[in-house]
């Protein structure tokens, strides 16, 4: 990690701390999704434990799209993005800083959301609750890592906000499946989540590596 990484990271964190734009919209949006699903499915007992993992993952996924769209859109104002293109620092560091910053935002939202989630779905965790501390960050990293990459890819297209969801969600499907299966098996206590955690880990390693390698290609596409 060089100073370029820290500069970008601290800048993004500072902007977010002052405005709280992404944070507030994400938190409220995911809260809405949790409430809406709760009303739509009227979950109780075993059924709520079975669907809770899916609802939490999908709520995170939808909510984080708003932050991911903001991540690059806010750089367009005042041509910051052009300055970043011209900077001699490698693009991979910029990419990594953005991923870490947004990963932190989404994780904080999840941490705040979790108690509400337990209340609305009347959950008590049957499996090892500590494993959730492994599953959720890995799933969030998969989402945010690919999301920041595809947001950079779709930033210069028409309908960019829509396009991000359209290209991110199909690629995210295996990670979503792993996240949902792992969370469900922890909540219900059935089955071993380790297989799914390994899958998530593999997904993260593969896609983060490829993103770091190809980020400059996308960022400097002309």
């Amino acid at each position: 990690m060089t100073s370029a990484f820290w500069t970008h990271l601290i800048k993004d964190l500072r902007i977010e701390l002052r405005s709280l734009d992404a944070f507030v919209s994400m938190l409220f949006f995911s809260l809405l999704v949790v409430v809406l699903f709760s009303i739509a499915f009227d979950p109780h007992g075993d059924f709520s434990r079975e669907i809770a993992g899916g609802v939490l993952s999908v709520a995170t996924m939808f909510a984080s799209v708003s932050a991911l769209n903001q991540a690059w859109a806010r750089e367009i104002r005042h041509q910051v993005i052009d300055a970043q293109r011209m900077a001699p620092a490698p693009g991979a560091e910029l990419f990594l800083a953005k991923v870490v910053a947004n990963f932190l935002f989404v994780s904080v939202v999840q941490a705040i959301l979790a108690p509400f989630f337990l209340i609305f779905y009347n959950l008590h965790i049957e499996g090892q609750a500590a494993m959730l501390l492994l599953v959720l960050p890995l799933g969030t990293w998969a989402l945010v890592g690919n999301g920041i990459f595809f947001a950079a890819l779709s930033i210069r297209t028409r309908n960019r906000e829509l396009l991000l969801s359209l290209i991110l969600f199909p690629i995210f499907i295996p990670a979503l499946l792993a996240m949902v299966r792992a969370t469900s098996s922890i909540l219900t206590g059935d089955g071993d989540p380790m297989l799914w955690i390994k899958l998530l880990l593999g997904y993260d390693i593969i896609f983060t590596t490829v993103s770091l390698m190809l980020f400059d290609v996308v960022f400097h596409a002309e």
Binding site: L153, T157, L163, P174, L177, Y203, V210
Partner: protein, 235 residues
């Protein structure tokens, strides 16, 4: 001469398609277990083979585009045309697979759809390539080629992961008919019919692919001429 060869190839494709249809519907013996519905295999399996091959062509062309885009501009343009043409035609064949599959499944399994490894992988592959085509539609200018090539690589990387994740989840698709364990394999008469249909559909797919490639190359030429005209107008 070139036109003559092309006309001959088109005629050959038409003859092969008719022959394949005749073989599939009238010649192939009835399946002992499934009855008439099994004949859909002569469309389902070749379409899947063509779709997956063309997606492989698209991936190779995307990689070639990224490799050549700075050093050999003309090769890069050719690669990009192949990548787009193969993705488009592959998506059409993949759609055929996704339509014929449930038609068969309804009769054979009693259900239209199941979240099995191969079904899910094919569906996700289809979704990825539709998003690839959407990106090509929404993005403008020369950068779209680079962006699409990168997305093509991401999509291809995703496929084995989707397949593995679904294998662990559940699997219902029939075990491999060819090269599987006990009870796999086909009656030689059926295998021959499948071979003819495979050939016919590949010939047809190659024809459509070549035409689509020509159209894209023309479009590239016109885009280059437009760009040159705009430059000249500025002088």
């Amino acid at each position: 001469m070139k036109k003559l060869a092309f006309g001959f190839y088109v005629a050959l494709v038409v003859v092969l398609m008719c022959w394949g249809y005749y073989q599939a519907i009238y010649v192939a013996p009835l399946d002992a277990m499934q009855g008439e519905i099994f004949r859909i295999i002569f469309y389902h399996v070749p379409s899947a083979a063509v779709a997956f091959s063309f997606f492989a062509v698209s991936l190779t062309a995307s990689l070639a585009f990224l490799a050549f885009r700075r050093s050999h501009k003309e090769w890069a343009q050719i690669s990009d045309a192949w990548a787009l043409a193969a993705a488009e035609v592959g998506t059409v064949f993949c759609t055929v697979v996704l339509i014929t599959g449930p038609l068969w499944g309804r009769r054979a399994w009693g259900i239209w759809w199941t979240w099995d490894a191969r079904l899910t992988t094919t569906l996700v592959l289809w979704l990825i390539y539709v998003s690839y085509l959407l990106l090509r539609r929404f993005a403008a200018g020369p950068q779209v080629q680079t962006l699409a090539a990168v997305l093509g690589i991401f999509g291809a990387l995703d496929v084995p992961i989707v397949y593995m994740s679904n294998r662990w989840w559940r699997t219902q698709h029939p075990a491999p008919v060819f090269g599987g364990g006990d009870g796999s394999g086909m009656d030689p008469a059926m295998a021959r019919v499948l071979g003819w249909n495979m050939l016919a559909w590949f010939a047809w797919g190659a024809l459509v692919l070549a035409l689509r490639y020509r159209v894209e190359r023309q479009a590239q030429t016109f885009a280059a001429l437009d760009a040159q005209a705009a430059l000249d107008a500025n002088d």
